[in-house]
Symmetry: C2
Subunit: 255 residues, 2 copies
């Protein structure tokens, strides 16, 4: 069966999605009937389109990770107008998942393969007092943080490097080389936001980079040691994996 040929006659629908990851086991559908974003969306889309639907997400967010601008696409024979799809989905999806846009994509558009970059945000409440309204989207760190030191460390991390020290993936033949375009650290009152832009991120990479940067911020690690840490290609030398709830997939870039 010429599956590709068949798809060329189907519509390719692109979704821009927002979700709060708190209640979910991550993006990726799993074998058991567990709570995943992909699983929720596919179940609803299959009902809406009256045919089995599989969706492709641009990135697989982990359990507890949020998204401001996840992109996904699916192929369908349904003739329902895009705008109507959006309304249908927002009516029946749980209130922690929202569809911001539904658009017709080129037949060969693929959310994951065509993505050329991503931006993640990690949020830290730098205070001895918890923040009730950000408690699901930020971690709390009472210790004073040296932002200048963290910015110096961040500069060493930018550029193309083998980030093997910063991933939880044990072994495998896949390349662990990635390019970080920018790490931007901004502060507004007690809230410190870390924005990571790059061509791709390895499994757990942003959260381990955060653990490392925070060690620098607390004076436990010198910014100048970062090049040697990258060179080591050893997960055990990097900082701890920070909690999922502080992480939000902010944007996906396509060329």
């Amino acid at each position: 069966m010429d599956h590709t040929g068949e798809r060329n006659h189907m519509r390719n629908i692109r979704l821009l999605l927002q979700y709060e990851g708190t209640r979910y086991q991550g993006w990726q559908r799993q074998q058991a009937a567990e709570r995943t974003i992909q699983g929720k969306l596919e179940a609803l889309l299959s009902k809406m389109c009256k045919e089995p639907i599989e969706i492709q997400g641009s990135g697989r967010t982990d359990a507890g990770v949020h998204a401001l601008g996840q992109v996904a696409n699916f192929h369908t024979n349904s003739e329902m107008p895009a705008e109507e799809m959006r309304e249908y989905m927002n009516t029946y999806l749980p209130d922690d998942i929202a569809v911001l846009q539904v658009t017709e994509a080129a037949p060969r558009f693929h959310s994951r393969l065509n993505a050329t970059g991503k931006r993640y945000i990690y949020r830290v409440i730098n205070s001895g007092v918890p923040d009730v309204f950000l408690r699901r989207y930020a971690i709390q760190i009472p210790e004073e943080l040296d932002l200048d030191a963290m910015r110096s460390a961040a500069e060493y991390l930018c550029g193309e490097h083998d980030f093997k020290s910063f991933t939880s993936t044990k072994k495998g033949k896949k390349s662990t080389v990635r390019r970080i375009e920018e790490i931007k650290i901004t502060q507004e009152d007690d809230l410190i936001s870390f924005s990571f832009t790059g061509n791709g991120f390895l499994y757990h990479m942003v959260r381990i980079l955060m653990g490392t940067l925070l060690e620098v911020g607390m004076g436990k690690r010198d910014p100048e040691t970062i090049p040697a840490l990258i060179e080591a290609k050893n997960r055990e030398e990097a900082g701890p994996l920070m909690p999922a709830k502080g992480l939000t997939l902010a944007e996906i870039y396509f060329s």
Copy 2:
């Protein structure tokens, strides 16, 4: 028993509080063992101080209403330092209530009686698309809103008036005269924030003012009809009571 005299020998502790009202039946402790902010705080404070504690809040927020800066006070014989109290409370309170500050107040300080003004914020997501991250703190209105018309109506509402048309309290001898200092309407992307500052607000007043302003924004009511609506002193002529979740008690002022 000279209760006042006794209290003069006790410490008077002032709290600055934040809470998400979603899970609660409002501030005020109720007879049954229901979920209230006051009830939660008193139970914990009584344990902490090893004596029965009653607290006074500056305002009684309704079920589902949030607070960024609620003020409350209580009298105690406990000698625990204020800073330690704050840490104790933030350790044992549920994560939707936080104590921002604990300070020693003058012996006669009373959160409700000494409050000279309050500020509330009401949030509206003006979009056909829900906002996942603000869904607990804002209501969603898809219709286009005329901000200029709402601002004109808001001007008529400012000043000292009898706000009988804007409260759910049926009858009673208490004055329904209040003074609104300012109603500020600001927009940031899809989020419209309404800030109400005044010397006091009647039961449901901000939420009924919001229902009225939104009718103006949707073109269902003319800004110029507001003086007559105030004059009518009739709840049935004002707009609907808007949902609690959009409302946040932002600040309490003391002279």
